[in-house]
Symmetry: C2
Subunit: 304 residues, 2 copies
Protein backbone atom coordinates (compact mmCIF):
# COMPACT_ATOMS: atom_id res chain seq x y z
CA UNK A 1 0.00 0.00 0.00
CA UNK A 2 1.39 3.38 -1.04
CA UNK A 3 1.07 5.78 1.92
CA UNK A 4 1.42 9.49 1.18
CA UNK A 5 1.22 12.65 3.22
CA UNK A 6 -2.28 14.17 3.29
CA UNK A 7 -2.37 17.80 4.36
CA UNK A 8 -5.68 18.75 6.00
CA UNK A 9 -7.63 21.80 7.18
CA UNK A 10 -8.89 20.83 10.63
CA UNK A 11 -11.54 22.61 12.73
CA UNK A 12 -10.07 23.11 16.18
CA UNK A 13 -13.31 23.66 18.07
CA UNK A 14 -16.87 24.95 17.57
CA UNK A 15 -16.99 28.62 16.70
CA UNK A 16 -18.84 31.51 18.32
CA UNK A 17 -19.39 34.76 16.43
CA UNK A 18 -17.26 35.54 13.41
CA UNK A 19 -14.96 32.64 12.48
CA UNK A 20 -11.23 33.35 12.59
CA UNK A 21 -8.36 31.80 10.70
CA UNK A 22 -7.13 30.50 14.03
CA UNK A 23 -10.31 28.44 14.45
CA UNK A 24 -8.71 26.08 11.95
CA UNK A 25 -5.25 24.55 11.73
CA UNK A 26 -3.25 22.95 8.93
CA UNK A 27 -2.45 19.39 9.88
CA UNK A 28 0.63 18.19 8.01
CA UNK A 29 1.10 14.89 9.82
CA UNK A 30 -1.76 12.84 8.36
CA UNK A 31 -1.15 10.15 5.78
CA UNK A 32 -3.41 8.15 3.48
CA UNK A 33 -3.14 5.03 1.36
CA UNK A 34 -3.75 5.74 -2.31
CA UNK A 35 -5.44 2.37 -2.82
CA UNK A 36 -8.87 1.43 -1.54
CA UNK A 37 -9.17 -1.73 0.52
CA UNK A 38 -10.50 -4.80 -1.37
CA UNK A 39 -14.30 -4.82 -1.59
CA UNK A 40 -14.81 -1.13 -0.86
CA UNK A 41 -17.40 0.65 -2.97
CA UNK A 42 -16.00 4.07 -2.13
CA UNK A 43 -13.83 6.40 -4.19
CA UNK A 44 -10.27 7.43 -3.37
CA UNK A 45 -9.87 10.90 -4.82
CA UNK A 46 -7.39 13.73 -5.24
CA UNK A 47 -8.95 17.10 -4.45
CA UNK A 48 -8.36 19.82 -7.05
CA UNK A 49 -10.61 22.78 -6.18
CA UNK A 50 -12.46 23.53 -2.97
CA UNK A 51 -15.44 25.83 -2.66
CA UNK A 52 -15.83 28.40 0.13
CA UNK A 53 -19.55 28.80 0.81
CA UNK A 54 -21.43 30.83 3.45
CA UNK A 55 -23.54 27.89 4.64
CA UNK A 56 -20.30 26.30 5.94
CA UNK A 57 -20.38 28.73 8.85
CA UNK A 58 -23.44 26.89 10.18
CA UNK A 59 -21.47 23.67 10.26
CA UNK A 60 -18.88 25.26 12.56
CA UNK A 61 -21.46 25.52 15.34
CA UNK A 62 -22.77 22.60 17.32
CA UNK A 63 -26.36 22.21 16.26
CA UNK A 64 -29.13 19.65 16.33
CA UNK A 65 -30.68 21.37 13.33
CA UNK A 66 -31.32 18.85 10.58
CA UNK A 67 -30.52 21.42 7.87
CA UNK A 68 -26.84 20.59 7.72
CA UNK A 69 -24.75 18.51 10.14
CA UNK A 70 -22.05 20.09 12.27
CA UNK A 71 -18.36 19.55 11.52
CA UNK A 72 -16.42 17.43 13.97
CA UNK A 73 -13.72 19.33 15.87
CA UNK A 74 -10.35 17.66 15.37
CA UNK A 75 -11.33 16.41 11.90
CA UNK A 76 -10.91 18.01 8.48
CA UNK A 77 -13.75 20.23 7.44
CA UNK A 78 -15.72 19.33 4.34
CA UNK A 79 -17.50 21.10 1.52
CA UNK A 80 -18.14 21.17 -2.18
CA UNK A 81 -15.15 20.60 -4.41
CA UNK A 82 -13.85 19.23 -7.68
CA UNK A 83 -11.83 16.04 -7.44
CA UNK A 84 -10.26 13.36 -9.56
CA UNK A 85 -10.73 9.65 -8.98
CA UNK A 86 -7.50 7.78 -8.21
CA UNK A 87 -9.11 4.49 -7.26
CA UNK A 88 -12.74 3.40 -7.57
CA UNK A 89 -14.78 0.70 -5.90
CA UNK A 90 -17.99 1.97 -7.51
CA UNK A 91 -19.34 0.87 -10.88
CA UNK A 92 -20.18 4.42 -11.99
CA UNK A 93 -16.63 5.73 -11.62
CA UNK A 94 -13.22 4.73 -12.92
CA UNK A 95 -9.72 6.03 -12.35
CA UNK A 96 -9.25 9.42 -13.98
CA UNK A 97 -12.91 10.46 -13.77
CA UNK A 98 -13.64 13.95 -12.50
CA UNK A 99 -16.61 14.92 -10.35
CA UNK A 100 -18.00 17.73 -8.23
CA UNK A 101 -19.71 17.25 -4.90
CA UNK A 102 -18.94 16.89 -1.22
CA UNK A 103 -15.34 16.17 -0.35
CA UNK A 104 -12.84 16.92 2.42
CA UNK A 105 -10.64 19.96 2.88
CA UNK A 106 -7.50 17.90 2.40
CA UNK A 107 -5.29 16.70 -0.44
CA UNK A 108 -6.90 13.28 -0.75
CA UNK A 109 -10.29 12.04 0.40
CA UNK A 110 -12.31 8.88 0.55
CA UNK A 111 -15.82 9.42 -0.83
CA UNK A 112 -18.10 6.95 0.88
CA UNK A 113 -21.28 7.99 -0.97
CA UNK A 114 -20.32 8.14 -4.66
CA UNK A 115 -24.03 8.30 -5.62
CA UNK A 116 -24.16 11.81 -4.17
CA UNK A 117 -21.52 13.38 -6.43
CA UNK A 118 -21.86 14.54 -10.03
CA UNK A 119 -19.56 13.16 -12.69
CA UNK A 120 -18.07 15.94 -14.81
CA UNK A 121 -18.83 15.40 -18.50
CA UNK A 122 -17.65 18.70 -19.95
CA UNK A 123 -13.99 19.59 -19.47
CA UNK A 124 -13.78 22.35 -22.08
CA UNK A 125 -14.51 24.94 -19.36
CA UNK A 126 -12.36 25.79 -16.33
CA UNK A 127 -12.73 22.92 -13.87
CA UNK A 128 -13.06 25.41 -11.03
CA UNK A 129 -16.44 26.42 -12.52
CA UNK A 130 -17.82 23.22 -11.02
CA UNK A 131 -17.48 24.82 -7.59
CA UNK A 132 -19.60 27.73 -8.84
CA UNK A 133 -21.54 28.42 -11.99
CA UNK A 134 -21.59 24.71 -12.91
CA UNK A 135 -22.05 23.47 -9.37
CA UNK A 136 -24.04 24.16 -6.24
CA UNK A 137 -24.05 28.00 -6.43
CA UNK A 138 -25.12 27.90 -10.08
CA UNK A 139 -27.97 25.56 -9.23
CA UNK A 140 -28.90 27.85 -6.32
CA UNK A 141 -29.14 30.82 -8.68
CA UNK A 142 -31.14 28.78 -11.17
CA UNK A 143 -33.63 27.36 -8.68
CA UNK A 144 -34.01 30.58 -6.71
CA UNK A 145 -34.58 32.69 -9.77
CA UNK A 146 -36.41 30.51 -12.28
CA UNK A 147 -38.15 27.93 -10.11
CA UNK A 148 -39.12 29.98 -7.07
CA UNK A 149 -39.59 33.45 -8.56
CA UNK A 150 -41.03 32.35 -11.94
CA UNK A 151 -39.87 35.65 -13.47
CA UNK A 152 -41.31 37.27 -16.58
CA UNK A 153 -39.63 39.52 -19.10
CA UNK A 154 -39.84 43.16 -18.09
CA UNK A 155 -40.20 42.50 -14.37
CA UNK A 156 -38.04 44.22 -11.75
CA UNK A 157 -35.44 42.10 -9.99
CA UNK A 158 -33.45 42.97 -6.90
CA UNK A 159 -30.40 40.86 -6.06
CA UNK A 160 -28.94 41.00 -2.57
CA UNK A 161 -25.24 40.04 -2.22
CA UNK A 162 -25.06 40.59 -5.97
CA UNK A 163 -21.30 40.09 -6.30
CA UNK A 164 -21.18 36.71 -4.65
CA UNK A 165 -21.17 33.29 -6.26
CA UNK A 166 -24.95 33.09 -6.50
CA UNK A 167 -25.88 36.77 -6.81
CA UNK A 168 -23.68 37.49 -9.83
CA UNK A 169 -25.48 34.72 -11.70
CA UNK A 170 -29.00 35.77 -10.73
CA UNK A 171 -28.27 39.28 -11.94
CA UNK A 172 -27.12 37.99 -15.32
CA UNK A 173 -29.95 35.48 -15.68
CA UNK A 174 -32.37 38.33 -15.01
CA UNK A 175 -30.73 40.62 -17.58
CA UNK A 176 -30.76 37.84 -20.17
CA UNK A 177 -34.48 37.37 -19.55
CA UNK A 178 -35.11 41.05 -20.14
CA UNK A 179 -35.67 42.11 -16.56
CA UNK A 180 -34.68 45.41 -14.99
CA UNK A 181 -32.08 44.47 -12.39
CA UNK A 182 -30.86 46.21 -9.25
CA UNK A 183 -28.23 44.59 -7.05
CA UNK A 184 -26.55 45.46 -3.78
CA UNK A 185 -23.05 44.46 -2.80
CA UNK A 186 -19.59 45.67 -2.09
CA UNK A 187 -19.46 47.45 1.22
CA UNK A 188 -17.01 46.16 3.70
CA UNK A 189 -19.85 45.22 6.00
CA UNK A 190 -21.62 43.32 3.19
CA UNK A 191 -24.64 45.55 2.95
CA UNK A 192 -27.06 42.64 3.04
CA UNK A 193 -29.16 40.95 5.67
CA UNK A 194 -31.81 42.18 8.03
CA UNK A 195 -31.74 45.90 7.29
CA UNK A 196 -31.54 45.27 3.57
CA UNK A 197 -34.51 42.91 3.68
CA UNK A 198 -36.49 45.54 5.58
CA UNK A 199 -35.77 48.07 2.84
CA UNK A 200 -36.53 45.54 0.13
CA UNK A 201 -39.93 44.75 1.66
CA UNK A 202 -40.86 48.44 1.55
CA UNK A 203 -39.86 48.62 -2.11
CA UNK A 204 -41.34 45.38 -3.39
CA UNK A 205 -44.00 45.57 -6.06
CA UNK A 206 -47.43 44.03 -5.81
CA UNK A 207 -47.36 40.22 -6.09
CA UNK A 208 -43.56 40.17 -5.78
CA UNK A 209 -41.66 36.99 -4.98
CA UNK A 210 -38.68 36.70 -2.63
CA UNK A 211 -36.60 33.55 -2.83
CA UNK A 212 -34.31 32.95 0.11
CA UNK A 213 -31.30 30.66 -0.25
CA UNK A 214 -29.39 31.83 2.79
CA UNK A 215 -28.80 34.69 5.22
CA UNK A 216 -25.06 35.22 5.37
CA UNK A 217 -25.27 38.27 7.64
CA UNK A 218 -27.01 36.21 10.33
CA UNK A 219 -24.69 33.26 10.62
CA UNK A 220 -22.23 34.87 13.02
CA UNK A 221 -24.82 36.39 15.33
CA UNK A 222 -25.72 34.85 18.66
CA UNK A 223 -29.28 36.05 18.10
CA UNK A 224 -30.23 37.05 14.57
CA UNK A 225 -31.57 40.43 13.49
CA UNK A 226 -35.29 41.02 13.77
CA UNK A 227 -36.79 41.94 10.43
CA UNK A 228 -39.44 44.66 10.37
CA UNK A 229 -41.92 45.53 7.62
CA UNK A 230 -43.22 42.00 7.22
CA UNK A 231 -46.71 43.49 6.97
CA UNK A 232 -45.73 44.28 3.38
CA UNK A 233 -46.25 40.55 2.80
CA UNK A 234 -49.96 41.21 3.23
CA UNK A 235 -50.42 44.63 1.70
CA UNK A 236 -48.34 43.75 -1.38
CA UNK A 237 -49.43 40.09 -1.59
CA UNK A 238 -45.81 38.92 -1.44
CA UNK A 239 -44.47 35.41 -1.48
CA UNK A 240 -41.36 34.54 0.49
CA UNK A 241 -39.95 31.08 -0.08
CA UNK A 242 -36.90 29.49 1.43
CA UNK A 243 -35.21 26.57 -0.24
CA UNK A 244 -32.26 24.26 0.04
CA UNK A 245 -30.70 23.64 -3.33
CA UNK A 246 -29.99 19.97 -2.71
CA UNK A 247 -33.75 19.34 -2.88
CA UNK A 248 -33.62 20.43 -6.52
CA UNK A 249 -30.58 18.60 -7.89
CA UNK A 250 -32.79 16.56 -10.22
CA UNK A 251 -32.92 19.76 -12.30
CA UNK A 252 -29.14 19.80 -12.80
CA UNK A 253 -29.22 18.35 -16.35
CA UNK A 254 -31.83 20.92 -17.36
CA UNK A 255 -29.70 23.69 -15.89
CA UNK A 256 -26.56 22.46 -17.67
CA UNK A 257 -28.45 22.49 -20.97
CA UNK A 258 -29.28 26.13 -20.38
CA UNK A 259 -26.04 27.43 -18.95
CA UNK A 260 -23.32 25.68 -20.99
CA UNK A 261 -24.23 27.43 -24.27
CA UNK A 262 -24.36 30.77 -22.44
CA UNK A 263 -20.82 30.22 -21.18
CA UNK A 264 -19.47 29.02 -24.52
CA UNK A 265 -21.07 31.89 -26.43
CA UNK A 266 -19.72 34.39 -23.92
CA UNK A 267 -23.22 35.52 -22.98
CA UNK A 268 -22.56 35.08 -19.30
CA UNK A 269 -19.47 36.00 -17.36
CA UNK A 270 -18.40 34.44 -14.14
CA UNK A 271 -16.01 36.02 -11.65
CA UNK A 272 -13.88 33.83 -9.41
CA UNK A 273 -11.63 34.83 -6.56
CA UNK A 274 -9.01 32.08 -6.50
CA UNK A 275 -6.40 31.45 -3.82
CA UNK A 276 -3.64 28.86 -4.06
CA UNK A 277 -3.02 26.04 -1.64
CA UNK A 278 -4.72 24.46 1.33
CA UNK A 279 -2.70 26.79 3.59
CA UNK A 280 -4.69 29.70 2.16
CA UNK A 281 -8.03 27.99 2.69
CA UNK A 282 -8.85 29.12 6.26
CA UNK A 283 -8.31 32.81 5.41
CA UNK A 284 -10.34 32.44 2.22
CA UNK A 285 -13.27 30.87 4.07
CA UNK A 286 -13.18 33.41 6.88
CA UNK A 287 -12.99 36.23 4.33
CA UNK A 288 -16.47 35.43 3.04
CA UNK A 289 -17.95 36.92 6.20
CA UNK A 290 -16.06 40.21 6.04
CA UNK A 291 -16.73 40.63 2.32
CA UNK A 292 -13.08 40.16 1.33
CA UNK A 293 -13.88 38.15 -1.79
CA UNK A 294 -15.09 39.53 -5.11
CA UNK A 295 -16.92 36.76 -6.91
CA UNK A 296 -16.84 33.09 -6.15
CA UNK A 297 -14.21 32.16 -3.56
CA UNK A 298 -12.25 29.09 -4.68
CA UNK A 299 -9.21 27.36 -3.21
CA UNK A 300 -6.86 25.50 -5.56
CA UNK A 301 -5.48 22.38 -3.90
CA UNK A 302 -3.90 20.99 -7.06
CA UNK A 303 -4.41 21.81 -10.72
CA UNK A 304 -4.26 18.22 -11.92
Amino acid sequence: MEEVSNKQVVLKDYVNGFPKESDMLINTSATISLNLPQGSNALLVKNLYLSCDPYMRNRMTKTEDSYVPSFTPGSPIAGYGVAKVLDSGHANFKKGDLFWGFTGWEEYSIITAPESVFKIEHTDVPLSYYTGILGMPGMTAYVGFYEICAPKKGEYVFVSAASGAVGQLVGQFAKLLGCYVVGSAGTKEKNVGGKMLEAVLLNMRLHGRISVCGMISQYNLEQGDGVRNLFCLVSKRLLMKGFVVTDHYHLYPKYMEMVMPLIKEGKICYIEDIVEGLESAPAALVGLFSGRNVGKQVVVVARE
Copy 2:
Protein backbone atom coordinates in the same frame (compact mmCIF):
# COMPACT_ATOMS: atom_id res chain seq x y z
CA MET B 1 -88.56 63.94 -0.07
CA GLU B 2 -88.67 62.17 3.27
CA GLU B 3 -85.72 63.40 5.39
CA VAL B 4 -84.85 61.34 8.44
CA SER B 5 -82.23 61.55 11.14
CA ASN B 6 -79.06 59.53 10.31
CA LYS B 7 -76.88 58.79 13.32
CA GLN B 8 -73.21 58.34 12.38
CA VAL B 9 -69.88 57.19 13.87
CA VAL B 10 -67.40 59.87 12.81
CA LEU B 11 -63.60 59.71 12.99
CA LYS B 12 -62.43 62.87 14.75
CA ASP B 13 -58.83 62.83 13.54
CA TYR B 14 -56.09 60.45 12.45
CA VAL B 15 -54.98 58.10 15.20
CA ASN B 16 -51.54 57.40 16.67
CA GLY B 17 -50.92 54.26 18.68
CA PHE B 18 -53.84 52.36 20.13
CA PRO B 19 -57.20 53.77 19.02
CA LYS B 20 -59.47 55.06 21.78
CA GLU B 21 -63.23 55.41 21.94
CA SER B 22 -62.70 59.15 22.08
CA ASP B 23 -61.08 59.09 18.63
CA MET B 24 -64.64 58.75 17.33
CA LEU B 25 -67.83 60.64 18.08
CA ILE B 26 -71.51 59.88 17.57
CA ASN B 27 -72.99 62.52 15.29
CA THR B 28 -76.75 62.78 15.90
CA SER B 29 -77.40 65.86 13.76
CA ALA B 30 -77.05 64.40 10.25
CA THR B 31 -80.11 63.73 8.11
CA ILE B 32 -80.66 61.81 4.88
CA SER B 33 -83.38 61.58 2.24
CA LEU B 34 -84.78 58.06 1.98
CA ASN B 35 -85.28 58.41 -1.77
CA LEU B 36 -82.50 58.45 -4.35
CA PRO B 37 -82.41 61.36 -6.78
CA GLN B 38 -83.84 60.62 -10.24
CA GLY B 39 -81.28 58.93 -12.52
CA SER B 40 -78.97 57.74 -9.75
CA ASN B 41 -77.60 54.20 -10.14
CA ALA B 42 -76.68 53.97 -6.47
CA LEU B 43 -78.44 52.17 -3.62
CA LEU B 44 -80.04 53.84 -0.62
CA VAL B 45 -79.73 51.32 2.20
CA LYS B 46 -80.55 50.79 5.83
CA ASN B 47 -77.61 49.33 7.74
CA LEU B 48 -78.41 46.31 9.90
CA TYR B 49 -75.11 44.82 11.09
CA LEU B 50 -71.62 46.33 11.06
CA SER B 51 -68.39 44.35 11.22
CA CYS B 52 -65.43 45.33 13.44
CA ASP B 53 -62.28 44.18 11.68
CA PRO B 54 -58.60 44.65 12.58
CA TYR B 55 -57.62 46.04 9.15
CA MET B 56 -59.80 49.09 9.94
CA ARG B 57 -57.07 50.35 12.24
CA ASN B 58 -54.89 50.97 9.17
CA ARG B 59 -57.57 53.22 7.73
CA MET B 60 -57.43 55.42 10.84
CA THR B 61 -53.90 56.51 9.93
CA LYS B 62 -53.03 58.84 7.09
CA THR B 63 -51.27 56.66 4.54
CA GLU B 64 -50.37 56.71 0.88
CA ASP B 65 -50.28 52.93 0.95
CA SER B 66 -52.44 51.52 -1.82
CA TYR B 67 -53.50 48.58 0.34
CA VAL B 68 -56.53 50.31 1.80
CA PRO B 69 -57.46 54.00 1.67
CA SER B 70 -57.50 56.14 4.80
CA PHE B 71 -60.73 57.27 6.43
CA THR B 72 -61.57 60.97 6.18
CA PRO B 73 -61.60 62.77 9.54
CA GLY B 74 -64.94 64.47 10.08
CA SER B 75 -66.76 61.82 8.03
CA PRO B 76 -68.39 58.55 9.09
CA ILE B 77 -66.05 55.60 9.09
CA ALA B 78 -66.83 52.67 6.79
CA GLY B 79 -66.48 48.92 6.80
CA TYR B 80 -68.15 45.66 5.98
CA GLY B 81 -71.75 45.33 6.94
CA VAL B 82 -75.12 43.81 6.15
CA ALA B 83 -77.73 46.22 4.80
CA LYS B 84 -81.20 46.30 3.29
CA VAL B 85 -82.05 48.17 0.11
CA LEU B 86 -84.65 50.91 0.61
CA ASP B 87 -84.33 52.45 -2.84
CA SER B 88 -82.39 51.18 -5.84
CA GLY B 89 -81.13 52.88 -8.98
CA HIS B 90 -79.26 49.75 -10.02
CA ALA B 91 -80.71 46.95 -12.17
CA ASN B 92 -79.29 44.18 -9.96
CA PHE B 93 -81.02 45.35 -6.79
CA LYS B 94 -84.58 46.12 -5.80
CA LYS B 95 -86.21 47.47 -2.66
CA GLY B 96 -86.09 44.85 0.10
CA ASP B 97 -82.93 43.09 -1.15
CA LEU B 98 -80.24 42.32 1.40
CA PHE B 99 -76.50 42.41 0.74
CA TRP B 100 -73.15 42.34 2.49
CA GLY B 101 -70.21 44.52 1.55
CA PHE B 102 -68.78 47.97 2.23
CA THR B 103 -71.11 50.43 3.85
CA GLY B 104 -70.96 53.35 6.27
CA TRP B 105 -71.02 53.32 10.06
CA GLU B 106 -74.37 55.08 10.16
CA GLU B 107 -78.05 54.23 10.10
CA TYR B 108 -78.51 54.78 6.38
CA SER B 109 -75.95 54.86 3.58
CA ILE B 110 -75.76 55.54 -0.11
CA ILE B 111 -73.83 52.77 -1.90
CA THR B 112 -72.27 54.29 -4.99
CA ALA B 113 -70.67 51.06 -6.27
CA PRO B 114 -73.42 48.42 -6.07
CA GLU B 115 -71.29 46.07 -8.23
CA SER B 116 -68.91 45.65 -5.30
CA VAL B 117 -71.41 44.24 -2.82
CA PHE B 118 -72.78 40.70 -2.57
CA LYS B 119 -76.51 40.10 -2.71
CA ILE B 120 -77.62 37.78 0.11
CA GLU B 121 -79.45 34.74 -1.27
CA HIS B 122 -79.77 32.64 1.86
CA THR B 123 -81.70 34.14 4.74
CA ASP B 124 -82.21 30.92 6.72
CA VAL B 125 -79.10 31.70 8.76
CA PRO B 126 -78.50 34.65 11.10
CA LEU B 127 -77.99 37.71 8.92
CA SER B 128 -75.08 38.79 11.11
CA TYR B 129 -73.16 35.77 9.77
CA TYR B 130 -72.63 37.78 6.59
CA THR B 131 -70.23 39.99 8.54
CA GLY B 132 -68.26 36.88 9.48
CA ILE B 133 -68.42 33.26 8.48
CA LEU B 134 -70.46 34.09 5.35
CA GLY B 135 -68.59 37.30 4.57
CA MET B 136 -65.08 38.69 4.40
CA PRO B 137 -63.62 36.88 7.45
CA GLY B 138 -65.01 33.56 6.24
CA MET B 139 -63.46 34.08 2.84
CA THR B 140 -60.18 35.05 4.52
CA ALA B 141 -60.16 31.79 6.45
CA TYR B 142 -61.03 29.83 3.31
CA VAL B 143 -58.42 31.44 1.07
CA GLY B 144 -55.68 31.50 3.70
CA PHE B 145 -56.18 27.87 4.66
CA TYR B 146 -57.26 26.05 1.51
CA GLU B 147 -55.84 28.19 -1.28
CA ILE B 148 -52.54 29.36 0.22
CA CYS B 149 -51.65 26.48 2.53
CA ALA B 150 -53.04 23.66 0.35
CA PRO B 151 -53.38 21.47 3.46
CA LYS B 152 -53.51 17.69 3.50
CA LYS B 153 -55.23 15.36 5.94
CA GLY B 154 -52.99 14.54 8.88
CA GLU B 155 -50.86 17.66 8.64
CA TYR B 156 -50.17 19.89 11.63
CA VAL B 157 -51.86 23.28 11.69
CA PHE B 158 -51.11 26.21 13.96
CA VAL B 159 -53.63 29.03 14.17
CA SER B 160 -52.60 32.38 15.58
CA ALA B 161 -55.39 34.59 16.99
CA ALA B 162 -57.47 31.42 17.02
CA SER B 163 -60.53 32.89 18.77
CA GLY B 164 -61.02 35.74 16.32
CA ALA B 165 -63.37 35.93 13.37
CA VAL B 166 -60.92 34.27 10.99
CA GLY B 167 -58.94 32.06 13.35
CA GLN B 168 -61.96 30.22 14.81
CA LEU B 169 -62.90 29.16 11.28
CA VAL B 170 -59.42 28.07 10.23
CA GLY B 171 -59.19 25.88 13.30
CA GLN B 172 -62.50 24.18 12.48
CA PHE B 173 -61.74 23.81 8.77
CA ALA B 174 -58.48 22.14 9.74
CA LYS B 175 -60.17 19.75 12.17
CA LEU B 176 -62.81 18.85 9.58
CA LEU B 177 -60.02 18.05 7.12
CA GLY B 178 -58.40 15.72 9.65
CA CYS B 179 -55.47 17.90 10.67
CA TYR B 180 -53.92 18.16 14.11
CA VAL B 181 -54.64 21.71 15.22
CA VAL B 182 -52.97 23.99 17.75
CA GLY B 183 -54.20 27.52 18.28
CA SER B 184 -53.15 30.46 20.38
CA ALA B 185 -55.47 33.12 21.76
CA GLY B 186 -57.05 34.58 24.79
CA THR B 187 -54.51 36.51 26.79
CA LYS B 188 -55.33 40.09 27.49
CA GLU B 189 -52.35 41.14 25.43
CA LYS B 190 -53.48 39.03 22.46
CA ASN B 191 -50.57 36.62 22.49
CA VAL B 192 -49.98 36.96 18.77
CA GLY B 193 -47.66 38.95 16.54
CA GLY B 194 -43.90 39.21 16.31
CA LYS B 195 -42.89 37.02 19.26
CA MET B 196 -45.46 34.39 18.35
CA LEU B 197 -44.26 34.29 14.74
CA GLU B 198 -40.68 33.86 15.98
CA ALA B 199 -41.74 30.87 18.05
CA VAL B 200 -43.82 29.48 15.20
CA LEU B 201 -40.86 29.65 12.81
CA LEU B 202 -38.76 27.59 15.21
CA ASN B 203 -41.51 24.98 15.43
CA MET B 204 -42.56 24.75 11.80
CA ARG B 205 -42.15 21.43 10.03
CA LEU B 206 -40.22 20.90 6.83
CA HIS B 207 -41.98 22.35 3.79
CA GLY B 208 -44.50 24.16 5.99
CA ARG B 209 -46.67 26.98 4.66
CA ILE B 210 -47.52 30.19 6.48
CA SER B 211 -50.39 32.25 5.12
CA VAL B 212 -50.55 35.80 6.38
CA CYS B 213 -53.82 37.72 6.23
CA GLY B 214 -52.91 40.45 8.69
CA MET B 215 -50.75 41.41 11.65
CA ILE B 216 -53.09 42.82 14.28
CA SER B 217 -50.37 43.25 16.89
CA GLN B 218 -48.44 45.60 14.60
CA TYR B 219 -51.13 48.06 13.62
CA ASN B 220 -50.82 50.29 16.67
CA LEU B 221 -47.03 50.43 16.72
CA GLU B 222 -45.08 53.40 15.41
CA GLN B 223 -42.41 50.98 14.23
CA GLY B 224 -43.36 47.32 14.00
CA ASP B 225 -41.65 44.44 15.77
CA GLY B 226 -38.61 42.90 14.17
CA VAL B 227 -39.13 39.19 13.56
CA ARG B 228 -36.20 36.88 14.22
CA ASN B 229 -35.69 33.29 13.10
CA LEU B 230 -36.46 33.96 9.45
CA PHE B 231 -33.53 31.69 8.60
CA CYS B 232 -35.98 28.86 9.30
CA LEU B 233 -37.48 29.80 5.92
CA VAL B 234 -34.33 28.34 4.36
CA SER B 235 -33.51 25.46 6.64
CA LYS B 236 -37.12 24.21 6.71
CA ARG B 237 -37.98 25.19 3.12
CA LEU B 238 -40.91 27.27 4.29
CA LEU B 239 -43.31 29.31 2.25
CA MET B 240 -44.72 32.54 3.62
CA LYS B 241 -47.45 34.16 1.58
CA GLY B 242 -49.38 37.31 2.26
CA PHE B 243 -52.73 37.92 0.67
CA VAL B 244 -55.61 40.36 0.58
CA VAL B 245 -58.91 38.56 0.51
CA THR B 246 -60.57 40.94 -1.94
CA ASP B 247 -58.28 39.53 -4.65
CA HIS B 248 -60.03 36.19 -4.19
CA TYR B 249 -63.71 37.10 -4.09
CA HIS B 250 -64.34 35.22 -7.32
CA LEU B 251 -64.15 32.10 -5.10
CA TYR B 252 -67.08 33.21 -2.95
CA PRO B 253 -69.67 30.96 -4.64
CA LYS B 254 -67.35 27.97 -4.23
CA TYR B 255 -66.87 28.83 -0.56
CA MET B 256 -70.62 29.21 0.01
CA GLU B 257 -71.18 25.79 -1.50
CA MET B 258 -68.76 24.34 1.01
CA VAL B 259 -69.69 26.25 4.13
CA MET B 260 -73.49 26.49 4.01
CA PRO B 261 -74.04 22.72 4.46
CA LEU B 262 -71.51 22.71 7.30
CA ILE B 263 -73.51 25.40 9.08
CA LYS B 264 -76.89 23.78 8.45
CA GLU B 265 -75.68 20.36 9.56
CA GLY B 266 -74.14 21.86 12.70
CA LYS B 267 -70.69 20.69 11.72
CA ILE B 268 -69.20 24.10 12.26
CA CYS B 269 -69.89 26.52 15.03
CA TYR B 270 -69.43 30.22 14.85
CA ILE B 271 -69.00 32.51 17.83
CA GLU B 272 -70.11 36.13 17.61
CA ASP B 273 -69.63 38.92 20.11
CA ILE B 274 -72.57 41.20 19.44
CA VAL B 275 -73.13 44.69 20.81
CA GLU B 276 -76.29 46.74 20.31
CA GLY B 277 -76.50 50.16 18.73
CA LEU B 278 -74.20 52.54 16.89
CA GLU B 279 -73.38 54.17 20.24
CA SER B 280 -71.60 50.93 21.22
CA ALA B 281 -69.63 50.74 17.98
CA PRO B 282 -66.53 52.79 18.90
CA ALA B 283 -65.89 50.74 22.05
CA ALA B 284 -66.43 47.49 20.13
CA LEU B 285 -63.96 48.48 17.43
CA VAL B 286 -61.34 49.67 19.91
CA GLY B 287 -61.80 46.49 21.93
CA LEU B 288 -60.40 44.38 19.09
CA PHE B 289 -56.92 45.67 19.84
CA SER B 290 -57.01 44.90 23.55
CA GLY B 291 -58.51 41.47 22.99
CA ARG B 292 -61.83 42.38 24.61
CA ASN B 293 -63.91 40.39 22.13
CA VAL B 294 -64.43 36.65 22.08
CA GLY B 295 -65.30 35.64 18.55
CA LYS B 296 -66.43 37.86 15.74
CA GLN B 297 -67.18 41.41 16.89
CA VAL B 298 -70.47 42.63 15.41
CA VAL B 299 -72.48 45.79 15.97
CA VAL B 300 -76.26 45.66 15.52
CA VAL B 301 -77.58 48.90 14.05
CA ALA B 302 -81.07 47.59 13.40
CA ARG B 303 -82.50 44.08 13.30
CA GLU B 304 -84.77 44.73 10.34
